[in-house]
């Protein structure tokens, strides 16, 4: 199992009170499997992604990446694991304005300390795969919203992750472009044999997934 969440709970302060954002969430995703999670605004979707992406420690429960319990890992251990095993696609493309499309991917290899000719070739191949082979040298300001998000997808796959997490990846795109990006994530998740979790408030855009879930009042239920 690439990703396993077991009885995960997260509470967040809400003024003088605390609210339970995740209440005993269980989720398992195998390599090549694609699952979609929906939920209304404030239902805890992003918190779920933060926990699965090792950006936030849960208050309770267990998180495993490739069978490794991350609960006891130090901050730097979690950072290393995120670098080596997790690919993140963000709600906003979150590209670096100074880097060209291909450099956005090369940066991932540089962070890993493996920016060699093989990594440069892989960056070009991945961008070609997401339909941006002709836009390698363009910076974010020279790309459309859909193209930027596709660069974000390619970047998430650059480090050969076991787990791909996409948090509202089409929120800033129109219907047509949003659907195209969703299809791309699903297709790449399967092709690269990555356990993929897509979070979206609009499941109509997400087709061809293996399972669908709804997050409501902190509880995750299959649809």
């Amino acid at each position: 199992m690439s990703l396993r969440l077991e009885n995960v709970t997260v509470s967040l302060p809400d003024g003088p009170d605390t609210i339970e954002v995740l209440r005993g969430v269980d989720l398992e995703v195998s390599p090549g499997e694609v699952v979609a999670v929906t939920g209304s605004s404030g239902s805890g979707k992003s918190t779920l992604m933060a926990v699965a992406g090792l950006l936030r420690r849960p208050d309770g429960g267990r998180v495993e990446i490739d069978g490794e319990d991350v609960g006891n890992l130090s901050r730097s251990g979690r950072t290393r694991l995120r670098r080596d095993r997790i690919g993140l696609v963000f709600q906003s493309p979150n590209l670096f304005p100074s880097l060209s499309a291909v450099e956005q991917l090369e940066l991932v290899a540089h962070i890993e300390g493996r920016l060699d000719s093989g990594a440069r070739d892989r960056a070009r191949r991945l961008l070609a795969t997401v339909g941006l082979g002709h836009r390698l040298g363009h910076r974010p300001g020279q790309l459309s919203g859909g193209e930027r998000q596709r660069v974000g997808v390619a970047r998430a796959l650059m480090g050969r992750p076991s787990v791909l997490l996409a948090d509202e990846p089409t929120a800033s795109l129109d219907e047509e472009r949003g659907r195209a990006v969703m299809d791309l994530i699903v297709a790449q998740g399967r092709e690269q044999n990555v356990a993929t979790v897509i979070v979206s408030h609009n499941l109509d855009q997400v087709g061809g997934v293996d399972r669908r879930y709804e997050l409501r009042h902190g509880l995750l239920s299959p649809l």
Partner: protein
Amino acid sequence: MFLALRDLRVQRGRFVLVGLVIALVAVLSTIVSGLATGLVDDGISGLRSLPLTHLAFQPGAKASFSRSILTATNLEPWREAAALDGFEVSPLGVSFFNARSAEGTSLDMALFGVPADSFLIPDQRGRDALSGEPGLVLSEEFRALGITEGDMITVSGVERTLPVVGFTFAGSYGHVDIAFTSLETWQELVYGDTVHDRFSAIAIRTRETTDFPEVNRLAGTETRTKTQAYAGSPGYSAETATINLIRGFLLVISALIVGAFFTVWTVQRSRQIGLLKALGASNLYVLRDALGQLAVVLTVSTLIGTALGVGLGSLVGGGIPFALRTGSVVFSAIALILMGMAGSLVALRRVTSVDPIVALAPVQ
């Protein structure tokens, strides 16, 4: 520095302003460094060029020639010790005079009275000049006032007229150009005809590093190394303290400017830093990136500013005490870079504290 270098290249406009300010501070720092060196030269270059290692003064004189009066009684124990231990000593008289040439040109001079056979006069020409009839060997700087060999110079006050018997590189002391004369002539000018065994200090040349406590006790003197004796030059301590204070302020200003800029810059790019960490970059990676960027901006700006400062310094006229020395300029530039780096520490602490979770927040 993958991201840092590309940021610098693509967003260079953002760095130009702070680079310009740092460069201006570097220009100022280089000019102040030149002034500091120039003032030091003007204050003690004559003393520095004398081939002595120590000076013995009257106790309490604080290395000031004008406060120190020694006599043959003080010199004798030194001569005996020198003969015994193989070092050299020489009486030295130093006084400031106003004089005038035959054409009426007013001249300020620091008059050094030295015996013609003293080790302080290293070449035979100088010894010949001082061993003959009374006369003056002037610092080269006097040539600029139209003084030539053979001119007659009248020392004001005592109204004694002496011929110019030669020129030498003598430098200046207490911001006044130096003139040499024989010790006897100096004693006549300072004390008149009656007192012939007085002088200001004893010049010593030795390879020893001792401060001669036993000889001092017997001679009733106190010794200073040559460097320590610089403090006795009129205004030297106050001037160097003032200049060093200005240099210190410049370094602090530089640190504050760089610190403020990089703090704002770090706040502005908090999301980028968070994103780097979300992509798996360690704190060390992010810090290396930020520090590298800072070092490039600081170094390039400082080098440009220093080069401009050196260029401007070369335009400074001879009337201003200004001198640029490689060591001093390089030290000044390195200090500026290091202080800038130190000033950025606050910003760097902020870099490490950025939470990668900010990358998940939607861009407003």
